[in-house]
Structures are given as C-alpha cells and as structure tokens.
Symmetry: C2
Subunit: 318 residues, 2 copies
C-alpha cells in the first residue's frame, strides 16, 4: 500500500462512477424464471462477466488509473495479478496511453496471459509464490518508477468496484439482499460501502469458497487471519483479505457464508445453462451461496453479483 | 402442411410482433471491439440464444399458437422436433393453457428432452428417421385432434421468426448485410421478408454447414433438393429446406455460403470467449460465415443472428 489506507465513502464511489463512465460497460441484469422457481427467490444477476476485460476489475483499475495526476501517470502503472486485475489495469493504461507492467506467476492460465498481452502491457513473469510476486513487483517499480495499483487493498480500487452496487441499485428496485463473492475483498468492500450508504436495510452477504475461507474466519475471530494453502476451484478468490478491506467488511458486511467447490460447479452449470452466460468459477460463488444457503434468500429480492467470466474452455471442471 | 402455403409479407411479420410481444424476450444486440478488429467489420450479434427457451423458435411457435381460434386451440398443438421448436411450442402452449404433443427421436439430446418436459408437454418418442417421425406425428394428431405446427414450413412460423429482423433493424441503424443460419429455412425466410421489405438494399446472406448444404445446392440448381445423410455438428440445421421456405428464399435471399464444421467450432469458441455468451453449434454458423468468407463482410456493418444457445455441456466439441 502506497496510499493512505482511508476507507472510501459513497461520495468517492459516486466520483468513481463519473470518472470511469467512458471506460467501462453499464452491465445488464439477467433474470430467470426457472432459477427463481428453483431457489424460491427473485434473483437479479448483475453480469460483471459482461464487463470490459470480462470482470468487475475494469471498474477499480480504471478508477485508479484515471485518479493519477498527469506527471505520475506518465511513468506508468504496475501490479501483480494472476488474472483479471492485470488485464483490467492493462486495459485502463492503454486507454490513457501510459505503460502498464504486470507481474504474473509463470503458471497463470494462458487465456489470462493472452488477455494482458493483448492490451499491450509488459508481462513480467515470476515464481508462483507471494514472496516472489512481491519481490518482482518491487524491482519493476524501482526500475520504471511505475505507480503501484494493488488489486484490492487500495481505496481507489475499492471505490471503483463499489460502482457495481450503484448501478445495480438503480437497475433493480427494492433489493433486500446482495450476494457478493469475497477473495481480497475489493468488490465486497466497495459494494458494502455503496449499498449500505444508499439503503442501510439491505443485507450485504459475502460468499467465500470453503477452501479459502480466511474472510469467514477473520470475520468470526474479529482479527485478520491470512489465507495459507487455499484449495478451491475459484482461482480468483484464493488470495488473503486485504487490511483495508477487512476493516470495511467488519463495519459494513452483515453475513459471510462459505460454499464447497461442488456447489460452485453446480452454480456455474446452472448459470451457463439457464442464463446462457459464461461465468468463471469465482464468478459463480455468489450464486453458489444461494444454492447452499437457500433459507437466507427464500422469498426475498436478491442481487447476485456475477463477478467475472474468464476461463479456459479446455479446462472445464466437469 | 395443413396451411395454405402463402408466403407472409411484412404486414404479417408486424402483426406477429404485436401478437407475441408478451410471450417473448426483446433480445439484446452484443458487440465486441476485439471481434470487429479480427474480422475488419462492424458486427452486431442479435442474441436469440437469450430468447425464451434459448432460441428464436419461441417467436414462430408463439405466433402460431396465438393465431389459433379458441375452439381449435383447445384441442392442443403437435409437432415433431429434435429440439428447440419442440420446447418453443411447449412453452407457448403452456402460456396459452392448451396441451402440446411433441414427437421426438429417442436419441434426442437429454437437455432438449428435459426442456420440453419442463414445459409440461407430452413427449412421444419415435425412431430417429423422418418416416417414423411423420408416421408418429400423424398418429398423435389423429388420436388427439391437435393442430399441427410445423417447425418451419408454415407461414405463421415464418412470420414469427421474421420478428427477429424487425427488432434488429430497430436496434441497429444502417445495417448493410444480415447473416442468418439456414436449416429448414424458417428463420431465413422470415428475416429475408422483413429485412428486404424494410430496406431492399440490405444483403441477406444465408450460411449453411457444408455437411448439410441442401439450401446452397437448391439455390444454385434452381429447384428444391432434399438433404440426405447430413454430416455436421450443427444439429439444428440437418433438416431439409421446406417448400414454402425455398420459394421465399429464392425470391428474397441474395447469397448462400457454406462453412465447414471446423469454422463452426472456431466461431463458437470465439463467441463464448469474447461475448461471454453460450452459443450452440447451429447458432454459431452465421458467425462462422464471417470467419470463412471475410471478404463479404470487410468494412461493412453486419447483423449476425445467433439463433440459439442450447447444448449439452458434457458434449462440447473440443
């Protein structure tokens, strides 16, 4: 973190929305009578898999890139990311005409590397460990003077991700609960800040893979615990919760539930089949929360954030 | 054919649009800067895979069911279909509160049988031959008094499918060409009637699998030839062109091109990956036409009809 770790508020989310409007898509909300019937709820799927770069990450990265003063922006931006944040930062940097340096583990999925390369970013490969990522990123920043944009532990990124909730609450009236996947916590923190400021009665419900449940444990213990040895198909959610994200989540999130990988795969297949839309494992975690904890949704109007749709079609989990 | 084989005109398509408005979805048009760049054209994908029952067939079936006088409708409707038309007729019949009898080959994909059953229709299984289908359908009609709704060789069905073009031409200005898959020819005939009546300068370009190219051959020979032994992954397009459909296509369609199955699979994967939307093989045939015949689209504004998105996720062609 090179930024002061001040939590953004609704005003910052609204500023982000105005700032990034030309950089991102206003994504649709899908509904399905069959899935409503299956779950006994009214489900409104916010399709961030149809966002630019195929994930909500376009929002936060665009807000961070556009927030930079001209002189600082000119030296470029840098991050480490195994996937969607890297592509998002590369996309935003190209749009602004500045260089992006993306540190990626050598074993990152080919489809995600290709996406980053396609946006003209410099890819710097490293060993697939957190230590190697951080050391490589520090070296890149020292050499280039690029500005760090952390994938989630950054107030500008959090404010950008929060625009998802601003849009959703305008698109759907009278939502009672919003289900959001949680990994590093950028999307969850941003959505919670925006949704609770607009309507404190909305339940913000986080869903986490059981095989990477550090947010669930941190929430329960009342202190931030690290994720070690994650074991889940949801590759975007294996990371540890950020420090700033944790503080925001403690303050604004009502509930965290966990889901097994079997529920994630079932959610993916149901969304593919019924909504005809491609959802990556991490993106299906929110709906897996509905399948696994139906009593929390029954009879309610629920926003379900589909966070992304990037995956390797040759490596499907069935 | 139990209907007088009179080709519908734009007026019938417009009447169909008004009649079915509450039964169907107004489907979105997707675009992709990356696919535009790849093809050197401006592509507007009309997403009938997001239509009710996952295919454009909901339009024609709904128009036929809603066109029936009350007394005739009460005896129900019947058809033979290996897939999307059966589900569409079942859906429309359930909405109108009348019975539907769907004759399906015993080897039809499980996902398509489940869809028909899910709409409460009676499924009558038969051997997977055209003769068995027709004999079984005749028996069902004799026993029940149900009204036949042919999958494509029916002016009400053709008029219904044509509403796809009405919508698309309202959604996208200045289209120069529309690419449409052709199997039995219901969608193609309806789109051609509507598009040419609205703007005779639009090129209506049909795309057919090389392994089921009876429309291509009929068009070239100037007489209707039957499709025998089709061999293509596009299971919805293996059927022979209808007689009425042939006449309309001869009059209104500008061009027919064929595509190999390899291009269909490539088109599917590109649409899945870039548009994040599920397209069945038959639905990807129109875009395969762009990939296989790029010179026909280069520099032009092209409507690409994605006709459906129903397929078995356990039987993907890669």
């Amino acid at each position: 973190m090179t930024q002061a770790a001040q939590a953004p508020e609704l005003a910052q989310v609204e500023q982000a929305a105005a700032r990034i409007a030309d950089y991102i898509h206003h994504t649709p909300v899908y509904t399905s009578a069959q899935l409503d019937e299956l779950c006994g709820a009214r489900l409104f799927f916010k399709c961030e898999n149809l966002q630019k770069v195929g994930a909500f990450k376009a929002r936060g990265a665009s807000n961070a890139v556009l927030s930079l003063p001209e002189a600082e922006a000119a030296r470029g931006v840098a991050t480490h990311s195994s996937g969607n944040h890297g592509a998002a930062l590369a996309m935003a940097a190209r749009r602004r005409g500045i260089p992006a340096h993306i540190v990626m583990p050598a074993n990152a999925p080919a489809v995600k590397k290709a996406a980053v390369a396609g946006y003209g970013a410099f890819i710097v490969e490293c060993e697939p460990t957190l230590a190697a990522r951080q050391a490589t990123l520090e070296r890149v920043i020292a050499e280039t003077g690029a500005h760090l944009v952390h994938p989630y532990n950054d107030p500008r990124v959090i404010a950008g991700q929060g625009t998802t909730a601003l849009e959703l609450l305008r698109q759907v009236a009278d939502l009672e609960v919003i289900a959001v996947p949680v990994g590093g916590g950028g999307l969850l923190a941003g959505v919670a800040i925006a949704a609770k400021a607009i309507n404190p009665a909305i339940e913000v419900l986080a869903v986490e893979p059981a095989g990477a449940d550090d947010a669930f444990r941190s929430f329960g213990l009342g202190r931030l615990v690290e994720q070690t040895a994650p074991d889940t198909i949801a590759d975007g959610l294996r990371t540890s919760l950020g420090e700033l994200n944790y503080r925001i989540i403690r303050q604004h999130v009502d509930t965290i539930v966990t889901v097994p990988d079997e529920a994630i795969v079932r959610a993916m297949r149901l969304q593919w089949t019924r909504l005809k839309t491609l959802v990556e494992p991490s993106g299906a975690v929110s709906f897996a929360g509905v399948l696994e904890h139906p009593e929390r949704f029954r009879g309610r109007r629920a926003g379900i954030v589909i966070s992304g749709g990037n995956l390797d079609l040759d490596q499907l989990p069935w």
